[in-house]
């Protein structure tokens, strides 16, 4: 490709038309580069974004026109530090304290999906200083020049992170991101309803005893991955349509078996008893303690995660958008969140543990962040290296997963 795909997207129709013409020429010339796309730049095969995998680490590209900040700058003061994050994913106390310390207001704007976040980041005139991308989209946002490279001289606390995440496979050299929270995906259940957990805990979701009170996550990747795992598949990034179809059929069998429902508020539904079994993220079950009715103790909450640690794991990251108005202060903020004490205070609010070595199961239980019987919801570097991650797919693969999910959601 001699044309950078970005050229066709900057809003100038002319350049894109030129691309179309060239595409038509190329097809006519039989090079096949753009053949079969009917002249439109739906060129999934030549996406410039390399798909990172733990066994196929990626060093993200650097661009001359998106430089990192220089060493030794003073953080900007006054005004507002603009943070772009999922809702309820940062402790307000931590933000207030940071603002006070550095003489700024900290303002959080929230998004619900990364697609929505990317759309906003791409909108001209909207600038954020700090952004929380997920691992599966970081390649795209870097290729789209939405993030700026980090200057590690401002980030000494990166050493607090899990060893694997100081140089992660999705962003070798931590050029654009630092780790934030870590989580697993398992099965949350009510111990006062569920008497025994089968060795393969996913089966709880399929047990007709709990009919009408079973929920799976309203998320195509998590739900289909659960079915893949239950079927013994461990590639949660497969683009094999037969495997995905089979997983979709397994999900559909949940409708008759347990009249399954979908949702992402397991912390609440398990706490008030509306759900007996709910596929949840580990942070949800930790949060569920705070949603329990007053007269109910947290011993009613249980969490299952595969014994052999072959279950879904994930981490989130923090990055600085290329459009940041306060890039130096943003670096200070990233470093602040990587501070052991700050991270633990933040965890006490979000329920999602920091991917820092300080957050050991022993420590989290001793400090009463997590009750002893929910220690399975704590993720360790060992979990992380043995676990399975849901990562970026090709555009066609993505469509496969989404359509299968839509099919299930259609109830047909």
């Amino acid at each position: 490709m001699t044309l950078h795909p970005r050229e066709g997207l900057g809003g100038s129709l002319l350049s894109r038309r030129r691309l179309l013409q060239l595409g038509a020429l190329a097809a006519a010339a039989g090079t096949g580069a753009l053949a079969g796309c009917s002249g439109r730049p739906t060129t999934t095969a030549e996406s410039p974004v390399r798909l990172s995998r733990p066994d196929n680490p990626v060093r993200l590209p650097r661009f001359d026109d998106v430089p990192a900040i220089a060493d030794g700058l003073q953080p900007e003061t006054g005004g507002t530090l603009k943070v772009f994050n999922y809702p309820e994913y940062l402790s307000p106390d931590v933000l207030t304290a940071f603002g006070k310390q550095y003489g700024v207001d900290v303002e959080v704007t929230t998004f619900t999906t990364q697609e929505e976040a990317i759309a906003k980041l791409r909108t001209a005139g909207i600038a954020f200083d700090v952004y929380f991308p997920t691992v599966d989209i970081i390649g795209k946002v870097v290729a789209g020049k939405l993030l700026q490279p980090l200057n590690h001289s401002y980030l000494p606390n990166l050493g607090n992170a899990w060893p694997q995440l100081r140089d992660p496979f999705y962003d070798q050299g931590s050029q654009y991101s630092v780790p934030y929270a870590a989580f697993t995906t398992g099965v949350g259940y009510r111990t006062d309803v569920v008497s025994s957990v089968p060795p393969r805990g996913w089966d709880l979701l399929f047990d007709s005893v709990y009919k009408g009170k079973v929920y799976i996550l309203d998320d195509p990747r998590e739900a289909i991955s659960m079915a893949l795992l239950r079927a013994g598949q461990t590639d949660l990034n497969t683009e094999d349509s037969a495997l995905i179809r089979a997983a979709g059929q397994m999900l559909a069998s949940l409708i008759d078996a347990v009249n399954v429902k979908v949702g992402i508020t397991g912390y609440q539904l398990l706490a008030d008893g509306q759900a007996s079994v709910h596929q949840v993220w580990s942070g949800d079950i930790i949060n569920a303690q705070y949603y329990l009715p007053e007269d109910v103790g947290n011993e009613v909450l249980g969490y299952w995660y595969p014994q052999d640690l072959k279950g879904p794991v994930g981490t989130d990251t923090i990055a600085i958008p290329a459009s940041a108005d306060k890039p130096v202060l943003a670096h200070v903020f990233l470093n602040h969140l990587l501070d052991n004490d700050v991270a633990m205070e933040n965890f006490s609010y979000t329920g999602y543990q920091p991917a820092l070595t300080v957050a050991t199961p022993e420590r989290l239980v001793a400090d009463e962040y997590v009750p002893e019987h929910l220690v399975a919801a704590v993720i360790t570097p060992d979990h992380y290296s043995k676990g399975l991650q849901e990562l970026q797919l090709s555009a066609d693969g993505d469509a496969l997963w989404l359509d299968e999910w839509a099919k299930f959601r259609a109830g047909s």
């Binding site: 439109r40 739906t42 619900t112 009919k211």
Partner: protein
């Protein structure tokens, strides 16, 4: 006294001229008065609709994998739309469309059963208290939709008050699982959410029926039922049609009621699928195509309504 008086032949001509001028002015004035409405429609209907079409017929961004709207119709691609059409007619989406249709039709029938007597009573028998009664009927809708629905959620729990009352009166033996993906709950929630929009236009029509027509019907020997069936009901048909359209349109696009009271795939409506594709994931073109399909369906219904209301207007005028 004046020249006009002396030359009466001029008067009609002048009046005529004045009339013509008035008509000329009116000719320019009336379309002018329509401009705000036209601009409004252009800005808030035609443009957004064009934007949806641009997304549905757009292309895939090579970096972000997301759908990019294509504003130039010459480059529109209909592959995704045709695929969605195919899925809607023969594939996995057909069940959702049919289910949506059934839910809405049943909900409308219930709205009619519940709403007609209320509107009828208000218009015919409420007398001076009708303002108060109308306000009381609408009072619950002053409370935010979410708050009302969440209140229902706690009432409809397995151990909630609804089941307690039903069991106290021995209407059911075991608690009803209202919230476990129960289609009846979804339909009832739709009725509950939209019935005031049904009552109000119907009331307005019933209220305008000339009582002398009813008296005439009685004088000509029709009983109460006969008068209702032969006079009131036909005269209220335009109101019924308006009420049906006003409630059906939002019901067809509703997705949040379903999310709140069910969450089960077995009760998914087309709005839920649109939400799935438009809110998450990278396939907004599919979501936009579904919006277009649903709009086409609703437009066909609207056209039928407009034609039938035109027809019913004609003999009256």
């Amino acid at each position: 006294m004046t020249a006009l008086d002396q030359r009466p032949d001029l008067a009609p001509a002048a009046t005529d001229q004045r009339r013509r001028r008035a008509r000329g002015l009116g000719g320019a004035l009336w379309p002018l008065l329509a401009t705000p409405g036209t601009l409004w429609l252009l800005a808030f209907f035609v443009l957004p609709f064009y934007a949806i079409a641009a997304v549905a017929f757009g292309y895939r961004d090579p970096i972000f994998g997301s759908t990019v709207p294509e504003w130039d119709p010459r480059y529109w691609s209909f592959d995704v739309f045709l695929d969605v059409l195919n899925r809607s007619l023969f594939g996995d989406l057909r069940a959702v469309f049919l289910r949506t249709l059934v839910f809405v039709v049943v909900a409308l029938a219930l709205c009619m059963l519940a709403g007609y007597p209320v509107a009828y009573y208000l218009a015919r028998f409420a007398g001076r208290r009708r303002g108060l009664l109308l306000a009381l009927i609408l009072a619950p809708w002053w409370i935010n939709y979410l708050t009302r629905m969440l209140a229902w959620l706690s009432l409809l729990q397995d151990d909630g008050y609804v089941n307690k009352v039903l069991m106290a009166f021995n209407i059911v033996r075991a608690p009803v699982s209202w919230l476990s993906g129960n289609p009846y709950t979804v339909v009832l929630a739709l009725v509950y959410g939209y019935v005031p929009f049904f009552i109000v236009p119907l009331f307005a029509t019933l209220d305008r029926i000339d009582e002398r027509l009813l008296d005439a019907s009685h004088d000509l020997g029709s009983g109460r039922v006969g008068t209702f069936l032969r006079v009131t009901l036909p005269l209220s048909a335009p109101g019924l049609a308006t009420a049906t359209v006003v409630t059906a349109l939002p019901m067809f696009g509703d997705y949040y009621t379903n999310t709140l009271v069910s969450g089960s795939p077995t009760t998914s409506m087309i709005g839920n699928e649109i939400e799935l594709y438009l809110l998450g994931g990278s396939r907004k073109d599919v979501g936009a195509s579904l919006v277009l399909l649903l709009s086409a369906l609703l437009m066909a219904m609207m056209a039928y309504y407009l034609i039938s209301s035109l027809r019913s207007d004609r003999p009256a005028s």
